[in-house]
């Protein structure tokens, strides 16, 4: 056996590390495009097959046409633009609020015996309740403006964040905890400087789920409590059986969701850079 400086036999890293399947080597945009095209093709086939009525599932072509129409109104500042702004505003505010409240509650739940044993069951019990049932309560306290929708969306997005934060606080191992105790860290410092950083991967799992939930929550709020956002547009289109419009509005909502999700994923990559690459105590 020889290990030699053998410049004739240089192996490019890609060949070396692992044989990557073709599909894994596609550049991301190409892969996504292919996948989306595959989905569109299936959709078109189903729509053409005639098994599904067009008022239930419009054809992709018909939907695309409507996407252009909605886009026209959206980008020229039409009523769709107004609705978009309202929903976007609700989504942003709700997400920030859910993050703040959820992180706090998650820390109480994950960080104290009282939180874990008493508060958590109560939070779970509350979360099981169909949140839509609380919409009238929020309406009567907060009125018909965006505040009541924000409250509902926050409420809906809260639970994943709580669970993620609470689980994260348990991620620190015994050695790390001992080290913190040995340097005289207060429980608070251990929380802030050990358990929270250690728990960030879990917390972000919750945040990602919440980033999506908050969009759905804002729409639900608008559906049940009136309002001028995308939810109202969808409801109008749905009641008129204008399914292409429903689908195209939903597509724009998806973009909003993708953006919030992408933002969270980006923040995670920046702040949890060490995850996966290493763990505590390894040289």
């Amino acid at each position: 056996m020889t290990i030699a400086t053998d410049r004739q036999h240089e192996f490019p890293e890609t060949v070396w590390t692992q044989r990557v399947s073709l599909i894994n080597r596609l550049p991301q945009p190409v892969a996504i495009t292919l996948l989306v095209f595959a989905i569109l093709a299936i959709w078109q086939l189903v729509a053409l097959s005639g098994t599904v009525s067009p008022i239930i599932l419009p054809s992709p072509a018909r939907t695309a046409q409507d996407i252009v129409e909605v886009g026209a109104s959206l980008f020229t500042g039409g009523y769709v633009f107004g609705a978009f702004l309202i929903t976007l505003q609700e989504v942003i505010i709700s997400f920030l609020m859910a993050t703040a409240i959820g992180a706090t509650l998650g820390m109480i739940v994950g960080g104290t015996a009282f939180g874990e044993r008493a508060l958590m069951p109560v939070i779970v019990a509350i979360d099981t309740m169909p949140k839509v049932a609380f919409a009238p309560l929020f309406l009567s306290w907060l009125g018909f403006g965006i505040a009541s929708k924000v409250a509902l969306a926050t409420f809906i997005a809260l639970f994943p964040i709580i669970v993620g934060a609470a689980a994260g606080l348990h991620a620190a191992d015994e050695n790390a905890r001992m080290l913190f105790r040995s340097i005289g860290a207060t429980p608070w410092q251990t929380l802030v400087r050990l358990r929270i950083p250690m728990g960030l991967p879990h917390f972000f799992t919750g945040l990602k789920i919440a980033a999506i939930g908050v969009v759905g929550g804002a729409i639900t709020g608008e559906l049940v409590g009136g309002g001028q956002g995308f939810g109202a547009l969808i409801r109008v289109a749905a009641s008129q059986l204008d399914t292409p419009r429903v689908f195209s509005l939903i597509c724009y909502l998806s973009v909003m969701g993708l953006m919030t999700f992408g933002l969270v994923a980006w923040v995670q990559r920046r702040f949890v850079f060490w995850h996966r690459s290493s763990s505590i105590g390894n040289g």
């Binding site: 009525s53 008022i55 239930i56 009238p136 309406l139 009567s140 409590g225 009641s239 008129q240 059986l241």
Partner: protein, 315 residues
């Protein structure tokens, strides 16, 4: 003889609103017509039509607005039995509100269920007829169902609420005193009716005949005050929960019993008048619920079975 299976799709799980059908079920009228009727409930008229279009149900009970929307999109569905022959909708105000005329609502906010519901076009038509225009003379605020509407009344966010008349009964029973403010002239705006696809009607005329006849029998049975208890019992059988609150059930029944009465009894139960459909279409076009008048409005409904249904069952 084998019974023919018929699935009826309703926009709401409540039973009392469709008491003629439930009476027909528990009095065996459908069986006599060779039908076995099962009832399913979905969420709203749009979904009723979708379920029928998908072939999951045979007969549906949507409102006229969504039906016309569906037709505008080339789905050949036809209303054949006018269930809520009188307007289901009205404008409600608080019992002690000073309003007497529609015009007194000038400068007020009027709550509506959704931005576009049937009650919106209805209310808009009424207010337009009273010489008022949306935006300048009054504004609509979408508040959702009757629960949030009650909130809106209490908060003073709205002065009136355009809603189904059943909502008035519900609010009243729950201690929220409201009164109906609807001029008699607008009773012609009929409400939900029974429909099926043209294809189904053509392929199963006997089902339509038998179904309608049993409905008429049920409706007549129900309009007789002597049968009140039986009707309520039939309804309770179909939805025991709804019947638990007796006061509420009776209030709803009293409201609905009036709404299913034919506007013009001489035309028979289930009759559709072309004028009323025209009025609906105009109102929907005006409110944007329909983009344009339909080229074949007369195909949206049919009264062809009315005479068969009413034969020999005259009240």
């Amino acid at each position: 003889q084998e019974l023919k299976q018929v699935t009826v799709v309703l926009p709401h799980p409540g039973a009392i609103g469709h008491f003629p059908m439930h009476v027909a079920r528990c009095e065996g009228y459908f069986e006599k017509q060779g039908l076995n009727v099962t009832v399913q409930a979905v969420d709203g008229s749009g979904q009723v039509i979708q379920a029928i279009a998908a072939g999951q149900g045979d007969i549906g009970n949507p409102g006229p607005g969504p039906l016309l929307s569906a037709r505008a999109q080339g789905v050949d569905v036809v209303m054949f039995y006018n269930h809520f022959a009188k307007s289901q909708f009205g404008i409600l105000v608080a019992q002690d509100a000073p309003f007497k005329e529609l015009t007194e609502l000038k400068g007020k906010v009027i709550g509506v269920g959704t931005a576009d519901g049937a009650e919106v076009s209805f209310a808009r038509s009424m207010l337009t007829a009273a010489g008022m225009t949306e935006g300048t003379d009054y504004t609509f605020l979408p508040v959702g169902d009757s629960g949030p509407a009650a909130v809106a009344f209490q908060r003073g966010d709205i002065s009136a609420y355009a809603a189904a008349t059943a909502d008035a009964a519900i609010l009243r029973t729950r201690g929220m005193e409201v009164r109906d403010f609807t001029p008699e002239a607008f009773q012609g705006f009929f409400g939900n009716g029974y429909m099926a696809t043209r294809a189904y009607i053509d392929a199963n005329p006997d089902v339509i005949k038998g179904f309608g006849r049993a409905l008429v029998q049920g409706a007549i049975f129900g309009s007789d005050p002597a049968n009140r208890e039986k009707v309520l019992a039939c309804s309770a059988k179909a939805n025991p929960q709804e019947a638990e609150d007796r006061v509420m059930l009776e209030a709803l029944f009293d409201n609905i019993r009036l709404r299913v009465q034919p506007l013009d009894p001489s035309k028979g139960w289930g009759y559709y008048s072309p004028e009323a459909w025209k009025a609906w279409e105009d109102s929907l076009v005006a409110s944007g619920g329909l983009k344009a008048p339909l080229p074949d409005l007369d195909k949206a409904y049919t009264s062809e079975f009315v005479s068969y249904w009413n034969e020999g069952v005259n009240p």
